[in-house]
């Protein structure tokens, strides 16, 4: 059973979002990190990059393959988690505190189209 935090929203591509004001913190879920296995590299955007909901913004890589990261929101990247450059495995250890990027959202209402914890849990069970 993967861990799902109640107060987050989720994309069906397994990214999570925490929106505080107009700042969204984004990472991947426990389900995703478990499915990937040992993460050896996180390909992150640069501060200042524009991201769009539904478009890829980077990748998470296991030994075997690269897995695209899809942005759950649109806006400007204001911070990336530099700790992941040297220690990508932090995402496996705690995928909820080891976020990947922070975005200043251009449209806070986009979050309404994302799944809540219960709906996301259903997807993981399928």
């Amino acid at each position: 059973m993967s861990k799902i935090l109640e107060d987050l929203r989720y994309a069906d591509s397994h990214e999570w979002v925490k929106l505080e004001g107009d700042i969204a913190t984004i990472g991947i879920s426990d389900y995703a990190q478990h499915a990937l296995g040992n993460i050896v590299y996180v390909d992150m955007p640069e501060v200042g990059d524009e991201v769009s909901q539904g478009e890829d913004f980077g990748a998470v890589e296991s030994v075997k393959a690269a897995s695209d990261l899809i942005s759950p929101v649109s806006g400007e990247v204001i911070e990336i988690n530099e700790a992941l450059e040297d220690e990508p495995e932090l995402v496996n250890q705690d995928p909820y505190s080891n976020w990947i990027m922070k975005v200043k959202v251009s449209d806070a209402s986009e979050i309404d189209s994302l799944l809540d914890a219960a709906a996301y849990a259903k997807i993981c069970e399928e």
Partner: protein, 364 residues
């Protein structure tokens, strides 16, 4: 499991061990048990065992066996002592690769061919079609044989002590046929990892007993995930990536296995011409400067122009470097050439190096 996949004789054991299973070459195969990195390191530093029962086996017997093998195979098996093994390719008329394979010389009129799982039907068809006019019998023994590969610096002591099979005196790239438990098994000092090791061919029953003994002795089971990372590090090709019907052995930088001084073989003219004219493209090694990981299919560019493509790439588990094999157009294949690899939307600087990223540890 997908409908049309074949199971090897060890399938139930992999499932019971909780292996991550995935289709490969028409078989439902274990990709990893504990984790690719752990299994890779077990083979590099101790010992691991692979289920390679998906591989195909074809026996060629008859008065024309040597002549026929030399007709379809680019390497030269003439005058070899019994027990010797050759690596090489079967090529088509254009010099492209039908398959890469091992040829085991049993006797002057008997050879045992070991072929890739993904090419079994194609190869058997090719061999049969080309055997017309030769006094040979072709027997597809792929369904009969199971096979395990025990690989690593401790492989010899493991096979001797856990399996009670005497292998100490088998030289590298040689094999023995041994009678055990009422059947003839084949053991060769061969492998696909760059470490010392053995490949053991027997009936399904024997293969199951062998695997169980190794599991009881706590030998690390290893899947196709680390099989690829291990062969890649030491520069070995994978059919489908570095070799194909459109890639010749010379383009794959494997011309040492093509014996152009043989009187004839399928593909000889095309390969001789290619050698004389020089290839237009070649498989080489690529090393990236940073941590980004090159993968199969990623473009290789110079000044925005594509000059090649990655065939296999990884962050090397043994060296920690981001490296790849790539098919690069001449003249950019020269060692030291500065290139760029396009990974998703960005390009990363890299340079052309030798494709042996890690030194082999064969017992020669």
């Amino acid at each position: 499991m997908e409908e049309n996949l074949t199971k090897t004789c060890l399938h139930d054991r992999h499932v019971a061990l909780g292996a991550l299973m995935s289709p490969f070459g028409g078989f439902d195969m274990p990709i990893q048990y504990k984790g690719i990195t752990e299994e890779h390191n077990a083979v590099r530093h101790e010992v691991g065992v692979f289920d390679v029962s998906h591989m195909g086996e074809v026996r060629v017997k008859g008065a024309d066996a040597c002549k026929f093998v030399n007709h379809i195979f680019v390497n030269d098996v003439t005058g070899a002592p019994d027990g010797q093994i050759f690596y090489g390719m079967m090529c088509n008329e254009k010099g492209g690769t039908v398959d890469d394979l091992l040829v085991y010389k049993v006797s002057d009129d008997e050879y045992f061919l070991v072929i890739n799982a993904s090419n079994i039907a194609k190869d058997v068809d090719w061999i049969l079609k080309n055997s017309e006019g030769f006094d040979v019998e072709i027997i597809d023994q792929s369904p009969y044989y199971g096979e395990v590969a025990i690989q690593g610096p401790k492989a010899e002591e493991t096979v001797e002590q856990v399996l009670n099979i005497p292998v100490k005196d088998i030289p590298f790239y040689n094999f023995k046929t041994i009678h055990i438990d009422g059947e003839d098994i084949i053991v060769s000092r061969t492998g696909y990892t760059g470490e010392d090791g053995f490949e053991v061919y027997g009936s399904h029953d024997f293969t199951r007993k062998t695997w169980d003994k190794l599991m009881d002795a706590s030998v690390q089971p290893c899947g196709l995930g680390c099989r690829d990372t291990l062969r890649f590090e030491v520069g070995l090709p994978l059919y489908g990536d570095e070799l194909s019907e459109d890639i010749t052995p010379i383009e794959a930088s494997l011309s040492m296995f093509v014996k152009l001084d043989k009187p004839e073989f399928i593909g000889k003219e095309a390969l001789a011409t290619q050698k004389a004219d020089g290839v237009k493209r070649r498989i080489v090694g690529i090393e990236l400067e940073g941590n980004a990981i090159p993968r199969h299919g990623y473009p290789v560019e110079i000044d925005g122009k594509q000059i090649g493509e990655i065939t296999t790439g990884y962050r090397s588990i043994s060296t920690g470097k981001s490296v790849a094999m790539a098919m690069i157009e001449k003249p950019y294949d020269k060692l030291g050439t500065n290139v760029e690899v396009r990974i998703r939307k960005k390009t990363f600087p890299a340079k052309v190096i030798k494709k042996r990223f890690y030194d082999k540890n064969y017992k020669k």
